[in-house]
């Protein structure tokens, strides 16, 4: 690897780290294919979003400072999640409005932070991937990536280059799946109603595989699909783009 390759700090996300490492390995492969040197800081844990959305500013700031310190040495910070990416990129700078030093550090980091797929396409100019998957898939636009970071065309563009893959759009792919972080456990009845509609739209698309860019939404949708006996499988889009679909899909039996 040459030294002029950008150094990317991978923000793994707490859900991926604990529940689905294969997404992070797929991210590493895609980033390396795009000519980046990837490092994974050991001092990262959580971006602070659960605390932030629960109104707990003090704990959010503590976690944000820790994340900023862990990642400020890199050329880029990349997260395989629109939600965690938007937390760092959109929300960190507003956290430190009254603290010029941390505000400046947060803004500097925000400017170098990206969601994985949009980074590959918009920053690295990737237009296709070397991957094969003979499957009919549908793609859910997770809310933060879509509305806070403008991730919409990029994953579809790369998916179009996957050999054998057919993308079929579900009804209203831009509607929330009802995960909403802590929302799904604070208001389980409402969350279930929303994800129930989403599962219906996914089924009706005729796809055999559901893809999205955020593990939280995927766990919610996959969990609902499995509970209702659906055959539709679910994966993070990075796994498909990296050609790493040997592991069982989310919530599927181990072979």
């Amino acid at each position: 690897m040459s030294q002029d390759q950008p150094r990317v700090g991978l923000f793994v996300t707490c859900l991926i780290d604990m529940l689905r490492p294969s997404v992070a390995f797929a991210s590493v492969k895609l980033l390396e294919d795009a000519g980046c040197r990837v490092e994974v800081p050991r001092s990262q844990t959580c971006c602070g979003q659960p605390a932030y959305n629960s109104g707990d500013r003090k704990d959010t700031e503590a976690l944000a400072r820790q994340t900023i310190e862990a990642f400020e040495g890199y050329d880029y910070v990349v997260a395989p999640s629109g939600s965690c990416g938007a937390m760092i990129k959109d929300h960190y700078p507003t956290l430190f409005a009254g603290d010029p030093e941390w505000r400046a550090r947060a803004e500097a980091l925000a400017g170098r932070t990206f969601e994985l797929i949009s980074f590959l396409v918009d920053q690295r100019g990737m237009t296709s991937v070397e991957a094969k998957l003979a499957a009919k898939v549908t793609y859910h636009d997770s809310c933060s990536g879509l509305r806070e970071l403008g991730v919409k065309a990029q994953p579809r563009r790369l998916l179009a280059s996957v050999e054998g893959l057919e993308l079929t759009e579900m009804n209203e792919p831009e509607v929330c799946c009802g995960f909403g972080g802590t929302f799904c456990v604070k208001y389980p009845d409402i969350s279930n109603e929303i994800v129930g509609k989403k599962a219906g739209d996914i089924e009706a698309s005729g796809a055999e595989l559901l893809l999205a860019g955020d593990l939280g939404c995927l766990m919610n949708m996959a969990g609902k699909l499995k509970r209702s006996g659906s055959k539709v499988e679910a994966r993070h889009v990075a796994e498909v783009l990296a050609g790493m679909t040997d592991t069982p899909a989310i919530g599927e039996e181990r072979k």
Binding site: L19, P21, S54, I190, N220
Partner: protein, 477 residues
């Protein structure tokens, strides 16, 4: 209106089980969204108009005292009277005394959310007056003794069959064989009753979409023309409006009107847009003899200069609720007070206190669709988050949430300990799931597993696996 917002959780769970309501909400989901998208796509400058509308309101709110004083001076000049009302009680008292002075027995009303906010109908009925709602949706829910479930479509939660049954129950003269199967026939039936009420009324009360400082005019938009009849036939016209409705000029109002109907009903313009300036002049053929404006504060001036000031830009179009997945699931009555959906989740705590309505700003997935369609670009999720912060500071958040967060913070701010703990948890959950790949029950996560399986971890954390991979890579190198 008495708030039931504290009971949001029960009310919403009930609403989810109400099959008729769910069918009606399906229509909101399909109808309004497509109409708005179509009509916005047809207007290339729609986004620029949203910016202009936001800027007009921001400017007005920065100089609200100036424009309100100017507005009052102009109303007075045109022969009308402005009644400044700090509270709901003040507004009710002012309206009562105007009605008493007019010797009123019957009052007709155009649709007004403010009158719901101050529970005006109950109050006037206690005074012995007959109050008749003239907006079709509002008329239907008046027959049912229900509050509105939506700010522009108050009866959107009902089916046509339910409305027909209500008409047959209340309209005693209605022949049994009269066909009421089409919306048109329902409208005709309501109209036949309402026509006489307009003529009987001594006082007409309407809301206002805008108050114009430049001219002292009020503007009301309707699709049924009921506002015009309400305000021009009786001897006395009372306009009831909250103080943030003021805009500087006619030009400003028309700019905002261009985004209002498009966002609300997906129309380019409403069927009727009516301007009123003072009572009937000597040369006018018709119009009221008295013109009063009830200018209500009721907590709004307290929002100025706070993180909630931007909420005062709201023009009550309902686009946020039309696009909200939570509203689609629970309907407007679940929110328990006048203003439902995302706008209500910010406005209700501002007006009646977060202690009473703390569920509302929390019952959002923060999907951001409300903000993306708000014609006034109000950052609704950001303001809901402000309310959550206020609740957290005041220790109003549930103890379980606070304990959960402090537990999470303890580990998450100690990376080495965190990695040890997540490694353990991943192994334990993997073992619990066996070869199944998912868990159908999980301690402490009943809210999740009641409806969903929980995908099992792969066994080791990424950090563990990555450390192993790095060793391999170094050896290979």
């Amino acid at each position: 209106m008495e708030s039931q917002s504290h009971d949001f959780k029960n009310r919403s769970s009930g609403a989810i089980k109400d099959e008729q309501l769910q069918r009606a909400l399906g229509n909101v989901r399909k109808g309004f969204i497509k109409k708005r998208a179509d009509v916005a796509a047809k207007l290339p400058e729609f986004e620029a108009l949203r910016d202009a509308a936001r800027d007009i309101k921001n400017h007005t709110l920065e100089h609200l005292d100036l424009y309100l004083e100017r507005y009052e001076a102009k109303v007075t000049e045109s022969g009308g009277k402005v009644h400044w009302c700090a509270s709901a009680a003040d507004a009710r008292a002012a309206i009562s005394s105007i009605c008493a002075a007019a010797g009123a027995k019957t009052v007709t009303k155009g649709k007004s959310m403010i009158s719901e906010e101050i529970a005006l109908n109950d109050h006037l009925e206690k005074d012995g007056l007959t109050v008749v709602e003239t907006d079709l949706g509002e008329y239907i829910i008046q027959l049912r003794k229900e509050p509105p479930s939506h700010i522009i479509a108050p009866a959107v939660h009902l089916s046509r069959d339910q409305v027909e049954a209500d008409f047959r129950r209340v309209h005693r003269e209605l022949p049994e064989d009269r066909n009421l199967t089409e919306p048109e026939s329902l409208v005709a039936e309501a109209r036949s009753i309402l026509r006489q009420k307009y003529l009987d009324a001594n006082v007409g009360i309407t809301g206002a979409n805008f108050l114009i400082a430049e001219t002292g005019s009020s503007i009301i938009v309707t699709n049924e023309g009921n506002g015009d009849l309400t305000q021009s036939l009786p001897k006395v016209h009372i306009v009831i409006a909250s103080l943030e409705k003021v805009v500087p000029t006619l030009e400003d109002a028309t700019a905002i009107l261009r985004v209002l109907a498009r966002s609300a009903t997906g129309q380019e313009f409403t069927s009727y847009t009516t301007f009123s300036t003072g009572p009937k002049r000597a040369e006018d053929l018709d119009g009221p003899e008295e013109y009063h404006v009830i200018l209500l504060d009721n907590g709004r001036s307290k929002m100025l200069g706070t993180e909630f000031q931007e909420m005062l830009r709201c023009i009550r179009c309902g686009a946020c609720m039309n696009h909200c997945p939570v509203y689609h699931s629970v309907g407007g009555h679940s929110y328990g007070w006048v203003y439902p959906g995302p706008m209500g989740a910010v406005l209700t705590p501002s007006l009646i206190g977060v202690e009473e309505s703390g569920h509302l700003p929390n019952a959002s997935t923060f999907c951001g669709r409300c903000e993306s369609v708000c014609p006034m670009r109000i950052p609704l999720p950001k303001m809901m988050r402000h309310w959550r912060e206020r609740e957290f500071e005041k220790h109003l958040s549930p103890a379980t949430v606070r304990q959960g967060l402090s537990f999470w913070r303890f580990f998450a701010t100690r990376p080495a300990l965190y990695q040890f703990a997540t490694g353990m948890a991943a192994r334990v959950l993997r073992a619990m799931a066996g070869s199944k790949g998912r868990l159908s029950r999980l301690p402490l996560a009943g809210g999740w597993t009641k409806y969903r399986d929980f995908p099992a971890p792969e066994g080791k954390t990424f950090q563990q696996l990555w450390a192993e991979e790095q060793k391999k890579r170094r050896k290979a190198a």
